[in-house]
């Protein structure tokens, strides 16, 4: 009887350990789900070669609005050069942003993009973006940055306006994190 009890206990202990692992498994599941469904406004990243001119829809214009935020921990000023821009779906468009380091220290920042409405984020792809890499600003440095993006021509008809929002965060633990982590970060957010 004692033996059986120990056996049951061991099996249940394994279940507990597996569930601990499941907690961690929720992280990749979450990211994959967000990628597939566009929940959280996660945007796509494509190479410039993947964009073909045939896809351009000449009869349609979509308004892209720009929104910029800076996390309070980061002593930067961050503005979009244009408030909004009308783009043709399928065509590569370019938007400019200006960022300035207000502190007297060199600081590393990372921009995290997000697109609203969520359905639109599935059709928003970037070919080049300042958010693909960490940005390092010297004390007082002012820098112009660009993003090149394509709004997919399959964008549902009902969506005529979308907002591209960036939030700049201070990169913490630079020494520990190194580049590898930020590459993953970019894959997740790209």
């Amino acid at each position: 009887m004692k033996n059986n009890a120990t056996k049951t206990a061991k099996k249940l202990g394994l279940v507990a350990v597996a569930m601990f692992g499941f907690g961690y498994l929720m992280v990749p599941i979450y990211n994959v789900l967000c990628d597939i469904t566009g929940i959280n406004g996660k945007t796509g990243q494509i190479a410039q070669s993947q964009v073909s001119v045939d896809d351009v829809d000449p009869n349609r214009l979509v308004t892209v609005e720009f929104d910029t935020n800076v996390n309070p921990a980061l002593p930067w000023e961050f503005k979009a050069a244009q408030f909004k821009q009308d783009v043709r779906p399928g065509e590569i468009a370019e938007a400019k942003f200006v960022v300035e380091n207000k502190s007297n220290k060199s600081v590393v920042g990372q921009a995290i993009p997000s697109v609203a409405p969520e359905q639109a984020s599935l059709f928003f792809n970037k070919t080049e973006c300042f958010c693909f890499i960490n940005q390092v600003l010297a004390p007082g440095e002012k820098k112009e940055m660009i993003v090149r993006f394509v709004v997919d021509s399959d964008l549902p008809e009902k969506i005529s306006t979308m907002t591209l929002s960036y939030t700049f965060f201070k990169v913490l633990n630079e020494d520990v994190a190194g580049n590898a982590q930020h590459e993953t970060a970019n894959q997740n957010n790209g």
Binding site: K2, G13, F22, Y30
Partner: protein
């Protein structure tokens, strides 16, 4: 603990002195320790809620600063959930399950000892944060990042306390399942188990499945803060909302971890005092199991406002609504059990009926919040505070208290003071409704939770609520007095204690000897559950 000294009868060999408790492997002693610990924690957490209600008695800041107020709110929840409710449930399980299934003790007595003694250490860790740089946790018991990561030196203590509590309850759960699966007396088939035992098997599975997920989540908090990971840090590619998903994947089953043992107690009490077998035993078992199963698919109803896609909100709304079905089955079964029964209203029965009324009330406000569009109004207001306190206080706590009154004569061999018991019930019931019912009104009117100050329009109701709170707090001293009085003496209880009681535990002497069922009893339909 003096009952041990008073009733040291027959050839009952038990260890003496402090060693009896420190090294105990006896399910009855460990059960007693769990219950005493839970009662102490109930008063620790209760004292914190008194601080909260004193501060909210009037608008403006009176007694504490906002940071400390937030600590009170946060630690009150952690202490009550992990220190009072869960240990009280495990304590009842320890005492009753071996006696109910005809086993001599728990299957793994040493682990039983360990899972209890982890608790004082865990709460020392948690409560020591009050004396640290940065104070005690103040970001809410849900520990949402990034707010919780702003906690000072206390963060690792909070995380390790949660780890310890998780380990303790998982070990307790494993022990309960191992006991019930392997040590039932001959003839005690699964479908003859008392419903309290069934409720605990299902709770134990929930614990094993849910607690490790919480442990994983808080570990991520720890590594985010100290080891450079970025699970919940947006700058590193993480997402703070993900913590909410992980937390509530644990958090919702946790709700049922708390409530199912109390449901189990009610299922023992009502047939006893209605003098009828429980109506719909089989459906009770299946309803309990389906509540537990469904509880893993509703977690996002705690976070309707984070910005989920419409389909997600609809899914979680319908899933949430569906839990009302098995819960309704249970409520109606209890009512049908009482139907045409020869009912008497001793204190345990009063508490059980109180649960039926007031838990259902809390359940209904839960259904209201399960409706996504209206939840946007109720979210983070006093309406949710009213809801979960209704299910926890006059639901779970009343259920557990009913269990204490129900089994106290069995444990001590003495009847408790029925007059005082009834006084405790009525003063608690009246004050708990003064305390929590007006919270619905101020919640609907827009008073936010977890804020130490409020707009003057809420002043009158808050004063009334605070008075109800103080009255409820004082009422609980009656319980302590009843228990002490009962342990010290009183009218002798018979073996059966209650006229309508059925089941193995009532065949044992009151109080039961230190070791019971060393030779397993034979269970037949006649001696099985009530």
């Amino acid at each position: 603990m003096s009952e041990a000294v008073l009733h040291d009868d027959h050839h009952d060999h038990k260890p003496t002195g402090i060693g009896r408790w420190l090294f105990s492997t006896n399910h009855k002693d460990i059960g007693t320790m769990y219950l005493v610990f839970a009662l102490i924690m109930f008063f620790v957490g209760g004292a914190m809620s008194m601080v909260i209600r004193a501060e909210l008695f009037q608008p403006g800041m009176q007694y504490v600063d906002p940071q400390f107020y937030n600590s009170m709110v946060t630690v009150h929840a952690l202490v009550m959930i992990f220190g009072a409710l869960m240990p009280a449930g495990v304590g009842l399980a320890n005492w009753m399950i071996p006696m109910m299934i005809g086993a001599p003790d728990m299957a793994l007595p040493r682990m039983n000892n360990m899972s209890f003694w982890i608790l004082p250490f865990a709460f020392t860790l948690l409560l020591s944060t009050f004396f640290m740089q940065g104070g005690a946790p103040a970001g809410g018991w849900t520990m949402y990042p990034p707010l919780v990561l702003q906690l000072g030196d206390g963060l690792p203590y909070l995380v390790f306390a949660v780890h310890f509590l998780g380990v303790s309850s998982i070990m307790g759960a494993i022990n309960i399942i191992a006991t019930v699966f392997n040590m039932r007396a001959p003839g005690m088939t699964f479908m003859r188990l008392p419903l309290f035992v069934w409720a605990w098997i299902i709770t134990a599975f929930l614990l094993i499945a849910a607690m490790p997920v919480l442990a994983g989540g808080v570990t991520m908090l720890l590594t985010d803060k100290f080891f450079g990971t970025a699970f919940f840090d947006a700058a590193g590619g993480g997402d703070p909302v993900m913590f909410q998903h992980i937390f509530w994947f644990f958090g919702h089953p946790e709700v049922y971890i708390l409530v199912l043992p109390a449901f189990g107690v009610i299922s023992q009490i009502i047939p006893t005092f209605a003098r009828k077998p429980l109506f719909g035993y089989t459906s009770m078992v299946y309803a309990t199991a389906s509540i537990a199963f469904l509880s893993f698919f509703v977690w996002a109803h705690h976070m309707f406002t984070v910005g989920m896609p419409l389909t997600g909100e609809l899914f979680f709304m319908y899933a949430t609504m569906s839990i009302a079905v098995p819960t309704g089955v249970k409520i109606f079964n209890w009512m049908a059990t009482m139907w045409k029964g020869s009912m008497t209203f001793e204190t345990p029965m009063l508490f059980a009926i109180g649960v039926l009324f007031m838990f259902s009330l809390g359940g209904f406000s839960g259904l209201m919040m399960g409706i996504t569009p209206v939840d946007f109004q109720y979210h983070d207001t006093y309406f949710i505070v009213a809801h979960f306190h209704y299910v926890i206080v006059p639901g779970i706590i009343f259920g557990l208290m009913g269990g204490i009154y129900f089994w106290l004569p069995k444990w001590t061999g003495n009847m408790y003071d029925e007059k005082l018991g009834k006084l405790h019930f009525w003063s608690s019931t009246i004050s708990v409704n003064i305390l929590f019912f007006p919270m619905h009104f101020i919640g609907l009117a827009g008073m936010p939770r977890r804020i130490p100050d409020y707009s003057v329009q809420f002043a009158d109701w808050n004063a009334i609520i605070s008075l109800g709170g103080f009255a409820f707090g004082l009422s609980q001293l009656i319980l302590v007095w009843v228990v002490i009085k009962c342990v010290r003496g009183g009218e002798k209880a018979t073996d059966q204690v209650w006229e309508g009681a059925h089941g193995l535990e009532w065949t044992l002497p009151s109080p039961p000897p230190f070791h019971t069922f060393t030779t397993p009893p034979e269970v037949t339909d006649a001696t099985a559950h009530s």
